[in-house]
Symmetry: C3
């Protein structure tokens, strides 16, 4: 019996059934939630990303990489437009030789003629070997995965950001950047991470917090307006996984009191686009972030020179350009890392990652 | 002397001049009308499609296929948006190694600056080796073919659906699916086919009927609202080609009286998008198809288990999901077949089909 | 110290500093102005274009070309939509094996979320090896080049038309077409060229005039409505470079008096799209070009049969179809030449042009 969508969704709550639903032959098949990645998965993805990044530097390595997924076709179905995320996935696929298509205007598809989502996804999936999808509806990627799982020609689905809840591959690239930055300082375990912004609604911030639970004793300090503080579901999950947390509504006091102990600051934008027409919610973003959530230039003296500075972009005023020459400024590296970790994810999905790591190892690149 | 457009168009009415205008070196060059394909053409295209489909299953075959049209560039000029048809053509080209571009928003081209259609098509054609085009104007693809035929650099043109009149490649995939389904039952000759829906305006339904005339003694039973019954031109063509027809305005009596003798049922959507603002015509589609044109679940007991069930998609309510487990349900196979038959068409146009069938034959795949 | 944008821009005015800012290792890196190309650059680009055009005729040459830039990724960032220019660049890149992406709807990028142009360009640039950009803002391409020049991962930028000021690659293709046309007549030096249309605002016309200064004693006769006569900056530049010019406000008298001495006529459209809402300016384009700026069929008897006829397209009524069989009609060749010269430019930028010319030379194609 094929499960109903509700059964499928309920199955994602528990670790064992989640793994059964989302992986095939030990590989990621549906990539929907940051929680689906365990520590060994993350370590292996990061190693693969590093291998790809280093192999790509020389013409031989590039040719090797471009032969791995040749002939594969990937559909990027982006109902919620995002040029940069789409281009990052497309570049990642291209690095491994796979072809991508971007389908972004769903009005031109048959949704408009009264067709069901399941029919649309299944029809389009017929021409592809994997789907990457972004949608304003929290459940869209799950629903696509569920309907394909029950079909005669199931293909992998990767969520590229769903609604306000999750942004799995953003959290993977953020984690990869943290791991890279802390390579000489004992790795991510036990680090002190500040996350600033609109936590309740920022899927990048939330997904990163979920992923940090996979490491030993991290401490997370959230800084957000009271109205956008981390939700109960997230906080319960963090506590269940023994993450030490604190919640603040202004940045300055936190840095003033303990700036020296902070290993990384993850700044995010207050997201005004969700606010339109929601009169009940304070309109925090209209003028950019208010002072309390801006990483001011003057805070440089409150933190260590090796403190990592990150931002998922786009930024408005909350991370001034004056930070660009700070030794820990990792924002542009994050962008490139997004391409490498997505390539690593494709490699893992299609079983090419072992070969990549082996070659990089043989060439002493890992 | 180059012909005027009217002369070109008149030349398409008669079999010999049509062949002279639309083929070069025995290969399809302009693909505009289902009627241009004779039985040997169709059989050969279907064999090529099967060869491609089977070669594509293994890495060697895929590499062979991807080398065939490498370096060719195909423009998909879609004035009438259709994500799925465009993606089907693009996937087909990709299977053979050709590169595709989708040009869908003609407002961004120079049409908007007062340029003639002929100039626009000719300019864009300069960068490509073939054009696939869909347009709401019945004559667009013909006009493009005509103007290119007279130029110094003529390139092939394939209609991907023009106005309400024809949808050539849809009819080829439908025919290919019928031929596949009847492979063990003597082929398409002499079969009883029911076509349900908005016949007068559904180009898929009309094109399939035209193509069935290439087979021996088929019988076609049309079921449609009176206002959308098959037009005189189509009926005359069918009779001239000795196709036995009947016309009905409700499905249930037809299946009740003779359901056991029916070999295939081709269901189509009543197309509400043409109705907007046409007050004289009953607005059949607003609520989906009315009961008389729905293939109800309860009809399963009226037809044979091996009766083929097809639909060109998108569907609304006229083909309920309960049919998906019927042994003759071929709808998803139609979608994949669209990709294979379009690849076969490209192969035939560029002279690569003989090599494909030869290789498949040598490997006992045909 | 990195220069400010104003310093960067000022540096482009003078030949030596311009060359320092725009080239790297002797290759074009930022392509922003027609003036940046000196005569040897132009000759070499034209030779490369011819080599590519001829190598492309045979399967071996095509395979050779497609291997040259394999793995390179080019972003076409077109804020001002232009299907044909974008497709020309994409085809050019494809001929050399590079992959292209067209990003045309900036509303779907993060510009809309308050991000700076510099951040947007830099983020997107992370996934690419070069940027081709068109923008209604005269400074956009310059600003992109400037911000990338200062970054840790600078990549080349090519302007594909900026505002009303320049259209560098159009002028290169026009020059290439002139050079080709005059190959048996002593080349471009000393030729008499008529440029008709909306000179003040037509970037193609202006860029061609700038490029003609690189040749010996050309004479340029401008024909335009008084309101759109060549601007002072352009005229001063031409005189400083010893180009003989004349300015007219009607075509007929010029051809009547000296038609026999004219070597090439470059016709352009009066551009009504800039006029919308500009009430002070005569609305010349609404009805197509007025009689004074139309190359009438009857003028054929006033010019030599070998006079070259060119137009950057799109055209409305200013170059009637009756000219298509004139021996000097080069319009369709210009379109194809655009693809070849852009491929030559990419080859020069990435250092593949020497190999192309060497191979073509060895095969006696140059």
């Amino acid at each position: 019996m094929t499960p109903t969508f509700e059964e499928f969704k309920a199955g994602l709550d528990e670790r064992e059934s989640r793994r059964a639903l989302l992986t095939r032959d030990g590989r990621p098949f549906f990539v929907l939630l940051s929680q689906q990645f365990l520590r060994p998965d993350i370590e292996m993805l990061c190693d693969t990303a590093t291998a790809i990044r280093r192999l790509d530097r020389h013409v031989d390595g590039r040719e090797f990489l471009r032969g791995l997924l040749r002939g594969l076709r990937i559909m990027n179905l982006f109902a919620q437009p995002s040029t940069r995320t789409a281009e990052s996935f497309i570049a990642a696929a291209d690095k491994l030789g796979a072809n991508s298509r971007l389908v972004s205007d769903l009005r031109t598809s048959s949704f408009a003629k009264g067709e069901s989502i399941e029919d649309s996804v299944r029809t389009l999936s017929s021409f592809f070997d994997a789907i990457v999808t972004r949608h304003q509806d929290d459940d869209f990627a799950m629903r696509a995965a569920w309907s394909l799982a029950a079909s005669r020609r199931p293909i992998p689905v990767v969520s590229a950001g769903s609604g306000k809840s999750q942004h799995v591959t953003q959290s993977l690239l953020d984690l990869y950047t943290l791991r890279y930055s802390f390579a000489e300082r004992g790795g991510v375990d036990g680090k002190n991470v500040v996350i600033i912004g609109d936590i309740a609604r920022n899927r990048a911030a939330r997904s990163l917090a979920y992923l940090l639970t996979r490491f030993e004793r991290p401490r997370i300090h959230f800084v957000s307006p009271d109205a956008f503080a981390p939700d109960d579901e997230l906080m319960r999950y963090l506590h269940r996984h023994e993450v030490e947390t604190s919640v603040h509504n202004a940045l300055q006091p936190l840095l003033h009191d303990g700036g020296n102990g902070i290993d990384a600051i993850y700044v995010t934008r207050l997201q005004q686009e969700w606010d339109r027409g929601n009169n009940g919610i304070p309109d925090a973003g209209e003028r950019g972030s208010s002072d309390d959530y801006v990483l001011k230039t003057e805070y440089r003296r409150l933190i260590r020179p090796d403190c990592v500075i990150m931002h998922p972009l786009p930024r408005v005023n909350e991370l001034p350009e004056s930070w660009e020459d700070h030794p820990g400024f990792m924002v542009w590296r994050q962008v490139r890392n997004g391409m490498w970790i997505r390539a690593a994810l494709f490699a893992a999905m299609f079983g090419a990652d072992g070969e990549i790591r082996a070659r990089a190892g043989r060439l002493s690149l890992l």
